[in-house]
Subunit: 195 residues, 2 copies
DNA sequence: GTCTATAACGAGATAGAC
DNA sequence: GTCTATCTCGTTATAGAC
C-alpha cells in the first residue's frame, strides 16, 4: 500500500507555492515578488520552491493556468446559480470586487500591465484569460440585450465591461474607494438597457 | 556674458533622461527599466544619469511630476479648444488613445498597478494624478449631464470613465485591438444621455 | 524534498580621474 | 558633466549533503 497514498508533502508544497505566488503577484506584480517571498510564506527555503518549479517563469505559468481554471469554474458556477443575465453580470462583478476588497488585483490584469517585460509563453496565457472572459461576457450580454452574440456591439460591450473592472480594481486600491468597482459596474449594467 | 547662456548640455541630459524614463516606464513599468536603459537611449553612461538624479525614485518622482504638469496643460488646452462638453470628453479620450496607439500606457496607470512596491512619495504623486483627472472629469461631466458637480452620481461617472480608459489601455495593447479605447469610450459617452 | 553553500549575474549607487 | 572602476546587495539558479 505504500504507493496508494504517495506522501502528500510534495504536492502540498507545490500547491501552497502556487497559491502564495498568485497572491503575491496579485498584490505586487511579476517583478514584485521573489522565490524568497514565496518560500517565506511557506516557512521553507527558496530551494524547496525550485525543486517544484525549475524557473520563475514556469512557476508563474502554472499559477496563471490554475488561476484561469479557477476562473472558468467560477463562471460556470455563476451560470448555474442564476438564470437572469443581469444577475449573472452582477455576480461576475462580485468576483472582481471580492479580490479588490482583499487588496488584490486580477492576476492577469497585473501581468497585462507588465506584458512587455514578460516572455511570450506568459503573454499568450494572459491573452487567453482575457479572451475567455470576453467570450463569456459576450454570451451573457447578448442575452441581456437580446442582441446577436456575434454583433460587433455586443463584442464591444463585453470588452468595455472587462476593461472597466480591470481599471477599477487598480484605482479602488490606489485611492481606497471601497465601492468603486460595484458602483461603476452597477451604472454600466443598468445602461445596457439603452444599448 | 558667460552666465547669460549657461551651457545647455546639462539641462539637456536631465530633460532627455526624464523623457526616456517616462517612455520606458509607460511601456515596461517601474521595475521594468534601469538606469542603464535610460542612459543607453541618450548614448551616455548610467553614471551621467545618477549625476542628475541621485536615486531611481527621485528620477521617477521628477518624471511623474512632469507628466502631471503636461497632462494639466493638455486638459486646459481641451477646454480652450472646445466648449461642448461632449467634444471635450472625446478630446480627453483621444489623449489616452494617442498614447496607446504608440504602445504606451498611462504612466500613472502603470505605477498604480505597481503601487504596493513603490515608496510612499511616489504613491501619493500617482494618487494626485488620479484626483486631478477625476476633478476635471467631474466638471465636464456635470456640464454634459446638467447635474450638480458635487452630486455623487457625477463623481461616480467620472471615476468610471477614468477606470474604463485605464483598463482599456492595458488590454488594447495586450490583445492588439486598435480601436478598443475609442470604441468603448464612444458608447460610454453616448450613454451619459441616460445618466 | 529539503537543506546549506555557492555560483553568476544584474542593479543601484559611490569614488575619483578627466 | 561625464567617464572608468568598484562596491554592495538582491535574485535566480545549481551542486551536493542529509
Amino acid at each position: 500500500m505504500s504507493t496508494a497514498r504517495p506522501a502528500l508533502k510534495a504536492r502540498d508544497t507545490r500547491t501552497l507555492a502556487l497559491r502564495a505566488a498568485t497572491e503575491l503577484m496579485q498584490r505586487r506584480g511579476f517583478h514584485g515578488f521573489t522565490f524568497h517571498d514565496v518560500a517565506a510564506m511557506l516557512g521553507v527555503s527558496h530551494v524547496a520552491i525550485h525543486y517544484h518549479f525549475e524557473t520563475k517563469v514556469r512557476l508563474v505559468e502554472a499559477a496563471v493556468a490554475a488561476y484561469c481554471e479557477r476562473f472558468a469554474m467560477d463562471l460556470a458556477a455563476i451560470e448555474h446559480a442564476h438564470t437572469n443575465p443581469e444577475k449573472q453580470l452582477q455576480a461576475y462583478v462580485a468576483l472582481f470586487a471580492g479580490a479588490a476588497s482583499d487588496q488584490r488585483l486580477c492576476l492577469c490584469g497585473v501581468l497585462a500591465a507588465e506584458m512587455v517585460t514578460l516572455p511570450e509563453e506568459l503573454r499568450s496565457a494572459v491573452r487567453s484569460f482575457y479572451k475567455q472572459n470576453e467570450a463569456w461576457l459576450v454570451r451573457v450580454i447578448a442575452k441581456a440585450t437580446r442582441k446577436r452574440a456575434r454583433s460587433a456591439r455586443v463584442q464591444q460591450l463585453a470588452r468595455g465591461l472587462l476593461d472597466l473592472l480591470e481599471g477599477a480594481m487598480v484605482s479602488e486600491r490606489l485611492l481606497d474607494n471601497p465601492s468603486r468597482i460595484t458602483g461603476a459596474a452597477r451604472w454600466w449594467i443598468s445602461s445596457l438597457r439603452y444599448a
